[in-house]
């Protein structure tokens, strides 16, 4: 008895503490606020975005809440990062609506880490409207849909108009072949002392850009069904040889060969790089997050060789698999309003463009249509008065992108295969005697082992 009386207060405290913890966790997970509204945590911008971006978001948030008074939208700073995604998902700290790139969507949905939105997409009538190539990125092997493709891009050749001018090149006549890119790069390096051409090499982006540039030469990393590695092909070989020649024969790639998406953008914005390949929608991030002087920006299509295709990519608006019905319903309303309506509804498109333009945010950055080309081009006419990006500086891309054939990223173990290719790109750029054939043969073997799992 004594023992029992001693234990019982402890038990009571333990039970009370457990109850309090569970109750507080439960309160967190239902997403219901005290005034009966559904609290919806939505992704906004990556860390580092300027205040104007948040001001524009606040306007849009208010517009949505006026339309849906039962939903309380809470903007959450968000940046897609594979490394922290699973931990955030497990810890329940992901927003209720966020975006992921096409590259990772298949892996995530096959892992059961994304919420099924098939019924919602069908109900909203979007299922038949999406570009089928793009919809494939969010479709599981049993035909279910796990997200709303909201934006697509093609890889383009970014260039610095000011460096072109300093090197005696015409910024309105960017290169159209890889040989021209090489010649222009050499001229920029010689005349300005800056890197004429650069490429990403780190954190899987080296593999990503190698894939893109090889695709433009007709070389692809995997068979169409993704079961066979074909890394050791002529397109990849020619791309590596191109890097080698620019680096070791022309000395036109500067001094830094450890660059990823962020650092190459930073160097470009600082005026240290003449040309590099990256997404066609990069302008927004370059100006918003890297303080690029808009007047020096130029964008054209990646040069295409026989059999070449342009690598595409994009973002998908998704929800975690664990949302309750009320929050899921609110999340779908937000996705439809914030991401989708502006693609096909004139009023929504104008309201979105106006809010962004009023806050000094980029409107009119070139993208690829996630619906059909005609709808996309029509939507551009709706928002024309608000377009504030220098589209004339992007004419090379805008006028020729629809002449190119898009291709998706490799289907199997995409990020892991990109990671395998990073050291190869680095080897070619840091070792004059790197044996390209031997490196590719080894990478091919390793990639096949990864695919076979």
């Amino acid at each position: 008895m004594k023992g029992k009386t001693m234990k019982s207060p402890t038990k009571v405290i333990a039970i009370a503490a457990a109850f309090a913890t569970v109750a507080s966790l439960a309160a967190c997970s239902t997403g219901a606020s005290s005034d009966g509204k559904v609290e919806l945590r939505v992704a906004t911008f990556p860390p580092g975005a300027d205040q104007a971006a948040y001001d524009a978001f606040a306007v849009q948030e208010k517009q949505f809440e006026d339309k849906h008074p039962d939903i309380d939208v809470i903007g959450v700073e968000y940046e897609w990062e594979g490394p922290t995604f699973t931990a955030q998902l497990a810890a329940g700290s992901l927003p209720d609506v966020f975006t992921v790139p096409f590259t990772d969507a298949k892996t995530l949905l096959e892992n059961g880490q994304l919420g099924d939105v098939t019924d919602e997409i069908t109900e909203l009538g979007y299922a038949d409207k999406f570009n089928p190539i793009i919809l494939d990125a969010v479709t599981s092997s049993d035909g279910r849909l796990f997200g709303f493709p909201r934006q697509a891009y093609a890889l383009g050749l970014q260039y610095n108009r000011e460096l072109f001018e300093q090197a005696g090149l015409d910024p309105d006549a960017p290169p159209t072949t890889w040989d021209e890119v090489r010649a222009y790069a050499k001229q920029i390096a010689e005349k300005t002392g800056k890197a004429g051409y650069a490429t990403m090499t780190q954190n899987n982006t080296g593999g990503w850009q190698l894939t893109a540039q090889a695709a433009s030469r007709g070389g692809f990393l995997q068979s169409d069904d993704g079961t066979t590695s074909t890394i050791a092909n002529d397109g990849v070989r020619e791309t590596l040889q191109f890097f080698h020649d620019l680096r070791w024969e022309d000395d036109s790639m500067g001094d830094d060969f450890l660059l990823d998406w962020g650092s190459i953008n930073q160097e470009f914005a600082a005026g240290n790089i003449g040309m590099y390949t990256s997404g066609s929608d990069l302008y927004t991030a370059l100006v918003r997050d890297f303080s690029l002087d808009a007047s020096v920006y130029g964008l054209t299509t990646i040069p295409m060789e026989a059999g070449g295709k342009v690598l595409g990519g994009g973002d998908i608006a998704v929800i975690p698999p664990s949302l309750d019905e009320a929050t899921k319903d609110a999340a779908v309303k937000w996705i439809d309003w914030y991401y989708m309506q502006k693609l096909l509804n004139e009023d929504a498109a104008v309201a979105d463009a106006k809010a962004l333009a009023d806050a000094g945010q980029a409107v009119g950055t070139p993208v690829l249509p996630v619906l059909d080309q005609a709808t996309y081009e029509e939507s551009l006419t709706w928002i024309e008065p608000y377009v504030n990006v220098p589209r004339e500086q992007m004419a090379g891309f805008i006028e020729h992108i629809f002449e190119q054939t898009p291709v998706g990223e490799p289907k199997s173990r995409t990020q892991e295969i990109y990671a395998l290719l990073d050291p190869i790109v680095q080897a070619v750029l840091t070792d004059e005697n790197a044996d390209i054939d031997a490196l590719l043969a080894q990478a091919d073997k390793d990639a096949q082992a990864l695919i076979d799992g």
């Binding site: 594979g82 699973t86 998902l89 090499t201 001094d255 892991e416 050291p423 190869i424 680095q426 840091t430």
Partner: protein, 322 residues
Amino acid sequence: MTVLDERRAAPPQRPHPRPDTARRRDRSIRAWVRRGGLTTLLFALPMILVFSVYSWWPILQSLWMSFQKTNLITSQFVGLDNFVNVLSDPLLGRAVLNTAYFALLALVFGFPLPIFMAVLMSEVKRMKGLYSALAYLPVIVPPVVAVLLWRFFYSASPTGVFNTIIGWFGIPPQPWIQDATQAMPALVLEATWAAAGGSIIIYLAALLAVPPELYDAAEVDGAGIWRKVWHVTLPQLRGVIFIMLILQIIATAQVFLEPYLFTGGGPNNATVTVLLLIYRYAFENSLGGKYGEATALSVMLALFLAAASFLYFKATQKWSTD
């Protein structure tokens, strides 16, 4: 309360004592309470709880995770598969060699430097505080800032800071971290710069404990400065040096910050270390698919370091206490 009640109820002398072991245990518990054991426990309890929740429990969890295939949402017991996968990874050998290379360079060039500096600084008569502060300055620079600063110094351009300096001596520009052979020594140089200040302060403190009479006696015997250092200072610092050495070995075996921030393991995997490989397993490629491999390699590294530390202490026990 229970214990107090029992103590009150217990007669001063029992006619029929309980069996020996039970009595001994009872007495030892009472003695422990009388000595203030409960109060000690009460004071220690918050720390025990904090360590349990934030340190020991995660360690046990990660040990368990090394036998699982998990994406943190669903888990499956896979036995020793993770260990087999790690051991068959072609990059593991490279990472181990790179880590050993880093540790060796840090040992040869980085370890004696603070001892030398501390001895030198202890001989300075004026403005000792200023020299200590200057030596310690790099330690208070946030490590990320220090690496970014050094990345700038290491610019491979002929106009880079270090290349300009070596240019004054007629040495051509070097690629530094942009070259597979130079990258690791460059990382060690920065790591030594960043860590030396802390070690110098510890050695300076230890030098204060060396009795001045020993130097006087050595001087009477006709010893010069180097003989005094060799025969008095170093033997007197022996204990501290042994501890600093094992701490450095453990720290260098876990080097992560420099390769992660400077080179990301490049160029061409020349600076991939064991910890960077663990990070890559856990976070880089897999969207969460390789936590098992990451914890398996962590467990192997921890076991290796535990064994190495044990052997080290066994081997040096005699020397450091003589």
